[in-house]
Amino acid sequence: MASTTTDIAVTPEPEVITARRPAGALLRSALHLWRTRIGLALVVLLVAVALFGPFFAPHSPTDFVGAPNTGPSDAARFGTDHIGQDVWSRFLWGGREVLGMAVAATAIGLILGGLIGLIAAYSRNVLDDILMRSMDVILAFPQIMLALVAIATVGPQTWLIILTVGLTTMPRVARVARGASQPIVERDFVAAAEALGVPRFRILVGEVMPNTLSPLLVEMNLRLTYSIGLIAGLAFLGFAPNQNGADWGFMIQENRLALVSQPWGVVLPVLAIALLTIGTGLVGDGIARAAVGIDRSRGGE
């Protein structure tokens, strides 16, 4: 294996911190790990359910198909919910919103946080302190508290949920991005670009950022996992943008009172959220392991 030959590449070369690992190669090597494959399969399955589920739903999510809280029958495969709507149809409809909002929120957090972290690490002066300390202030509040305050004030608008989740994700990404960039900005190739007078932004994006991709990819997966949980959690607390629409988080809240008599209304969305977050978590873990070259299944150290 390649890593074996590098191990004995006889004299360790001084200061090889980051090897050349374009994102593509990194993902490929992550795919050699079973955890990544399983995680990816789960994510693909749940994303497929969320995206294409509505096409296979036997009923509209708001149709009444029977008495409330009845068990599985021919009309409703997984029974009906607390007001007599089809659980299976609502489940198939209910992933789009959670997933779409989580992806959008994570993207906002990743881009803003990544930039702030890079700028802070590269500035090496008072700007670093200002940026990172203000991130710390946001970090001091639990993510869900800030989201609740904003949504309780303005109301559960889709854009607001995305924005608050994105903005509260930002400082967490910023810390990782700064940590990953800090050893890179000290390296001589950055000084070489400075001596040439390469514009600052191009140094950041062209020289520094590509070398921080692996930790950022891992962080992206982790943050996606948390965003899904957070958005589903907000819906559970009643803050879903569409009060009549189907939403996995909202479904749990609606049907939890009938948990004993008609468990499917809760179990299906819980299972979906759990498998989705486990999936993204496994993918992130796989990438992280591939990035540092840990492969326990091979029986190394």
Partner: protein, 595 residues
């Protein structure tokens, strides 16, 4: 010489990749007498560290010792079980690693760490005896034995002191065999000279057999009486240091000696073209044959055996007698240095001071470099020479005084300088492992200045031409830095610096991370480019002998001040400053090695 029984006998040692036939090291045999230091010399990748570690019965991950024996006293280290081996290490066979700072535990006081070694191996009868031994060790390595000193943490010591602690730990239990793996790499010459002296004294004092692994033939020559030269996992020549330096019988040794800079008499340094074959890619026959000037068909058929060509002088070459008969070294007179243009000044420094926060590291430096002139700036680590070089390039902003490029003062920061000034002054960094972005191809890296300064018709062709100019082929453009050797990386860095046609080149210790033969090739290349392109060059180095091969004038820097400035011949032969004299005395070179 009817010697006592050797303390260490290694025979037929073979280390290979686990589960394969590919060997990293094979057929390594030597013995060391008590109190003797054997030097093991080889370039990066030659397997010298692998061989050194195998003496402790240790291999790196993915490798295994597949044949041979390592006999210490009457025991074969390789036949022992893991527990017995562990007991042996440190007490009977010990090891001094390359990086002293990394091998000491930063969280423990040095006294604690020294006691720990003794306790682990149950040395002495009790606490007080061990404490006495710690004090004794400290005296042996010429460090204070006061309790207050022992309460220090590793970071409170200098690099040289840390390495002495490393030596003290290795010698703590009075081992019979000690393996030293390039322990002076990274130390400056004065400290290195002291550490080498300590090694020699300790080996003699304790009657320990020492194996000194190094890439630097000159260093090994000052320390060891006998030297073994390793190439591609084989010992190719073994003999007294004197014989190896003057009548080497293997073409590789000969080329290695020719690559060492001399203090006396200016001559060209000659690198070895090509690179050593890696395990698994070694040619049939003699491994050196593809790079050898003595090669004949028989060389390519089978690996020659190690055979005796003199009393205690053995060599692995079919034509050893002919190689040895060739008179003297393969020395050739150096090309004339380019004559500086009189009266013109490309780069001038006036009263330049530089500081880090409150600490002033450069004091009132005045220097001038003419077009077509190479000025060397020599000093030990911490002398401020790199800070000065970075100030010129606009990478160190806390400086005062004037830096003039053809009479025009320059801003402290590279960003504050006009585009022409940034293009005109180019900088080559010390460490080619850090100065190239691992995510960019060689082509992208070399192209960067062209894209930035613009006005170039055919950038790709320029890049290809520049790569060929630094003796890489255009095919390198698509490779990534981690696919290149250190020497190749430094060539890429030089290509990047020169591609935009600068008039001033600053080289900051550009060879200090490289092997001696690679260093020779890089200096050769720089000298040629400087001459051909008429560059004004500032060549920063800690290696005084190296200066002869490239520079006409030399400035010696100590604690931030220029203490001596003059023509190279004059500074080397008649130094006026005390510091220069000490630097010259401590620098390992062929002359001191064979004196």
């Amino acid at each position: 010489m009817s010697a006592p029984a050797p303390a260490l006998v290694v025979s037929g040692l073979r280390v290979s990749l686990r589960g394969t036939d590919t060997d990293i090291v094979d057929d390594v045999s030597f013995s060391i007498q008590p109190g003797e230091v054997l030097g093991l010399v080889g370039e990066s990748g030659s397997g010298k560290t692998t061989a050194g570690l195998a003496i402790l019965g240790h291999t790196r991950r993915g490798a295994e010792i597949s044949a041979g024996s390592v006999t210490v006293g009457d025991r074969d280290v390789l036949q022992l079980g893991p527990a017995e081996r562990r007991r042996l290490r440190g007490s009977v066979v010990s090891y001094v690693p390359q990086d002293p700072a990394a091998s000491l535990n930063p969280a423990l006081r040095i006294g604690t760490q020294l006691m720990e070694v003794l306790e682990t191996h149950s040395f002495g009868a009790g606490q007080s005896e061990r404490r006495d031994r710690v004090a004794e060790m400290m005296r042996e390595v010429a460090l204070p034995d006061a309790p207050a000193y022992l309460r220090r943490y590793p970071h409170e010591l200098s690099g040289g002191q840390q390495q002495r602690i490393g030596l003290a730990m290795a010698f703590a239990c009075r081992p019979r065999v000690i393996v030293l793996d390039e322990p002076t790499t990274g130390l400056d010459v004065t400290t290195q000279a002291h550490v080498l002296g300590t090694v020699r004294e300790l080996a003699a004092l304790h009657g320990a057999a020492a194996l000194y692994v190094s890439h630097d033939l000159a260093v090994v020559g000052t320390l060891a009486v006998r030297v073994a030269v390793m190439y591609a996992g084989r010992i190719v020549e073994m003999g007294s240091a004197d014989e190896l330096f003057h009548t080497a019988a293997h073409p590789y040794t000969r080329r290695l000696v020719a690559a060492i800079p001399h203090l006396s008499g200016r001559r060209a340094l000659i690198g070895i073209p090509g690179r050593a074959p890696a395990p698994g890619h070694r040619p049939p026959g003699c491994f050196f044959s593809p790079r050898c000037t003595f090669v004949q068909p028989a060389c390519e058929e089978a690996m020659p055996d190690l055979r005796m060509v003199g009393d205690k002088h053995s060599v692995r070459c079919l034509r050893a007698e002919e190689v040895r008969a060739q008179a003297g070294l393969v020395a050739s007179a150096a090309d004339e240095l380019s004559t500086p243009e009189k009266g013109e000044v490309a780069l001038a420094l006036r009263e330049v001071c530089a500081r880090y926060g409150d600490l002033q590291v450069v004091h009132d430096v005045n220097l001038e470099v003419s077009p077509r002139e190479c000025l060397a700036l020599v000093g030990e680590s911490g002398s401020g020479k790199t800070t000065l070089a970075r100030s010129i390039a606009g990478l160190h902003q806390q400086r005062t005084g004037e830096i003039l490029l053809r009479g025009t003062p320059l801003a402290t920061s590279s960003r504050g300088r006009p585009r022409e000034a940034r293009r005109d002054i180019q900088y080559v960094f010390q460490n080619p492992y850090g100065s190239l972005n691992p995510r960019r191809t060689v082509g992208q890296i070399v192209r960067q200045p062209l894209d930035l300064f613009g006005g170039v018709e055919n950038a790709d062709r320029q890049v290809d031409q520049m790569l060929e100019r630094v003796a890489l082929s255009a095919s390198y453009a698509d490779r990534y830095p981690d696919q290149l050797s250190g020497g190749e990386r430094q060539r890429v860095a030089i290509a990047r610096a020169l591609v935009s046609g600068p008039s001033v080149l600053i080289c900051d210790e550009v060879t200090s991370a490289l092997d001696v033969s690679v260093q020779a090739a890089i200096v050769e290349l720089l000298a040629e480019l400087q001459r051909d392109l008429g560059l004004a060059m500032l060549f920063v180095t800690h290696n005084l002998p190296l200066v002869r091969s490239i520079a006409g004038r030399v400035a010696v820097m100590s604690t931030g001040r220029i203490v001596e400035l003059g023509p190279v011949e004059q500074v080397i032969h008649a130094p006026t400053d005390e510091y220069t004299r000490r630097l010259l005395a401590d620098t390992p070179s062929l002359e001191t090695a064979t004196a």
